[in-house]
Symmetry: D2
Subunit: 305 residues, 4 copies
């Protein structure tokens, strides 16, 4: 029986030499100002136990991690027909590349690149009665915390200079892969990214994906066991921008990262894990977070492979 608490504490020490490497995402002023030297980590098991270390109770900006929740909602709303509007192949290029989108006529490679998540936002806007309220209700039920919320200051700060996302959204609209008004889609998308959680809440939110033998049904969003497993598959191949292969190689767990410095991952049937540290590598993934998860699967010898 593995002592996860001890493992986490060992990891916490082992990643310390990396502190100071990399830097916060700087294109969003609100993220640039976060204390870069934070490190928190939390494991929650399917058996109901949780283990934490460091700044695991401090909330941070989920950014792209929220795309996983958006995908769950859209898969519940649209089923397999969702894949007509977004692919499920790894992108092979930087997470915000317009090239692929143009070459492939407005169908984003997968739901976890910005283009794909903009399509998810559009789908929710056209299908949910109260998009903002319904989405946060789902997220709150998933993570078991009623205080989790959008950070409108972050959203606003990001929205003002989100020229690249505006370019992508307009290109999607040009290719008729956005139905709503472009500005509305950009607004909702930015809000989704601005949701804040701490490591414990995030691990809890991902436990539903690890726990695919349990019924997945939260605030009206329901997925079959097969759908949950398939979401894990997409995280595995597409969850880390153009570093999906590296993460799969080093860590061997499905997961999703965000430029806020968070990473969530799952060991199907056993546990979910969340880690947070704001300093990023050149690919936009948390340096200490990546290392912490590599150490986790190396030390426990638990991975999906």
């Amino acid at each position: 029986m593995i002592n996860y608490k001890a493992v986490l504490d060992n990891i916490s020490k082992a990643v310390e030499p990396l502190s100071g490497q990399g830097r916060n995402a700087d294109y969003i002023p609100a993220l640039a100002n976060v204390n870069p030297d934070k490190f928190g980590m939390c494991i929650v098991t399917t058996g109901g136990k949780s283990f934490e270390t460091g700044d695991s109770a401090e909330r941070f900006s989920l950014q792209s991690i929220s795309k996983v929740f958006a995908l769950a909602v859209c898969l519940s709303l649209r089923g397999e027909s969702l894949w007509k509007r977004v692919g499920k192949e790894p992108s092979g290029t930087a997470f915000n590349s317009l090239v692929q989108l143009e070459v492939e006529h407005g169908v984003p490679r997968n739901p976890f690149i910005n283009a794909g998540a903009l399509v998810l936002a559009d789908i929710m806007l056209t299908s949910l009665e109260h998009p903002e309220e319904d989405f946060i209700a789902f997220v709150r039920e998933l993570c078991g915390s009623s205080t989790v919320n959008y950070n409108l200051e972050v959203a606003c700060s990001e929205r003002k200079t989100a020229y690249l996302n505006a370019a992508i959204a307009n290109l999607l609209k040009f290719h008729s892969n956005i139905e709503c008004d472009v500005e509305r889609v950009l607004d909702f998308y930015t809000k989704i990214c601005s949701i804040e959680m701490n490591c414990k809440e995030l691990a809890k939110a991902f436990l539903a994906f690890a726990n695919h033998k349990e019924k997945f049904s939260y605030a009206g969003v329901s997925l079959t066991s097969s759908q949950v497993k398939r979401m894990n598959a997409i995280m595995q191949t597409c969850g880390f921008y153009d570093e999906a292969g590296e993460f799969s190689y080093l860590v061997g767990l499905p997961g999703k990262s965000g430029v806020g410095g968070g990473i969530a991952a799952i060991y199907p049937g056993c546990y979910s894990v969340a880690v947070w540290s704001p300093r990023l590598n050149s690919k936009g993934n948390s340096i200490m977070g990546m290392k912490a998860l590599e150490l986790l699967t190396t030390e426990t010898m638990e991975s999906i492979f």
Copy 2:
């Protein structure tokens, strides 16, 4: 306890309606002439049992599946320094695309696209004393059959018209990522692809990757447990040309396909499976093979996710 024999027989019946869809790879004359309506499948468990159905005893051309064996040899020879010469990210484009190679200055995206495997061939040529003999000796020990061999007629047939591979190899040489003579690399590469096995032999060969708690050591090629798991991770993200996401989504097992119509996959710790059917979809993967594996993990509810 799952009755794999019954599962295989059910699958065999269930895929029948797909017969006639797609067609053999036609760019290699020797493959174009194979009876397109073959279907065979075999599971070999870590417990030593095997289950078969259909044409599982008939040999076929491994083609790209052999790249897995080449990677095992090169990882054993070079360790982590191998990744200086080839990446481990999914390619996101057609398996033979020159574009990415040119843009990324001669470092192939991963070892399972043609460009990557040409680099593997070059590494073996510079490091093995008797490349052809040493490589086949390893493959024979892995699959437990001393009669497995190169099919020189197929290799010769492919070599004559392999203009695209010649273009790729010359581009690699231009970028100094091939040391040997280009013609020699193309010869060895084509031989590697020409190896023939039947489903049982192929499943047996992949059992070593499923069985990562056992020592991996065959004919002088040794890998650590961690290296074996990481090879599985690469199969997961890069094993199916630009359909890696689709396979991961539908099947949920690491594996590798070839244009000969074969697919090998593993369920880590439990079994390996090989399936063969020559008719391919537009991405170069066996239509009945993909479906058979999807049915396998759906029916058994066993996948890595």
Copy 3:
């Protein structure tokens, strides 16, 4: 001495068999509704004579042809430093491609693709006191007609669905190659494109470029003889989207086309010519217009080569 009137009449008859081929630009509703079977042509010589045929007195939407006027203004405003913000190389791809812009970090290939002209619009907005008024004043003086104007209905119609231009403008802004507000730039750009002239006015406007020995100074916009010649050079290499080579090959005159079906060209030192016919080929150039100009230089044996 060439009888240009007879030449024009012959051309008018010779292009008739092409009528019915191709179709109006359909992405701008106001252009889609233009009578597609119009054909007009006008030559104006440096000696002050003019020759016309067909619908040469009917105004049409200049669209991209206006980019030449915008370039003249910006070259006058910024001189050679203009080329820091926009290139002068042919694009080699479709006129609205985002790919090149992304790869080359926000510096458009040349001022005659949409991206380049958006930068020109931005430059005028930051440098002219009354951009709309100043620009049209220049254009009116150039063509010698005080009634030439923006067509705000066309501009409005185009603006509403200009998602691709909005994508391009946002991408330019992302790369810091637009200073003003994106919406403002798009508004002004669309107005510039909406200017209407007839063939005679257009030929007159281009005479200033043919007549480079005369002083170029109109409504405060001044260019040296060398600058005028260099503008002609850019028209030659970049004036016809990705059909610049074809036009150069068949016609052999510098010029600029627009999706309104107009083409203006010059024979330096001798004459300027404008032709209009709304039906376009797949590259966005007027079918009858291209043919008419090819016949003109073939029959007169006058080209720059």
Copy 4:
């Protein structure tokens, strides 16, 4: 009446400050060893006069300039049907890019990029009885010197390391746009590039293109006046790799450059000019050569625009 001799001497002095900038092409050993500080220039008029300065009597390697002669031969052999196998649009990317060739399915953008000239070599090989002899016979008659020849040492030196050209040729063969054996095409192509002339011979060879009112017929290669003018148009849009726009802008004459440091250009109806200086800019064009031609058209105020 312009005193071209004085103009040339002025230019010779004016470009001196640029000496030392840039460097020889270094990927061909035989070119790397040429004295980099040479500068020669020669003008030959349609009236039969010639003017020279500097090292104008020293032979150098024509390299890509020879593609003009190859195009003349192929246009004579195939007429307009030639354009089914090669385009006539500027490439917009580096002269040896494989990307465009792959995207456009094996049809090179124009005859002056390496891919296009490999197709020209293939056409000559399939159509000329004695390709090497016939081609050099044409070139000799064009330049009026019976001692002009292939430099087989240079050809051999280049051939050994021509991996990029080998990649291109194999890609063309893959797309069925090369009929002959790939090795044979590469051999002939490399020989064509190895031809050596001095500035006076080169200017003389290009006089036939400037002099389009004269009959173009040399050693069995005949072109109409219209074909000659159209070749000039192609030089104008495609003659300078991805610096065609820059050259057109600064110089305003059709021409062709080579990595041997030579540039030939024509002022239609009046003269041809050749300049040579081995140091190249990052685009592969002679630095002093480009400047010399810019000064020529600036000082004489003679350009096609």
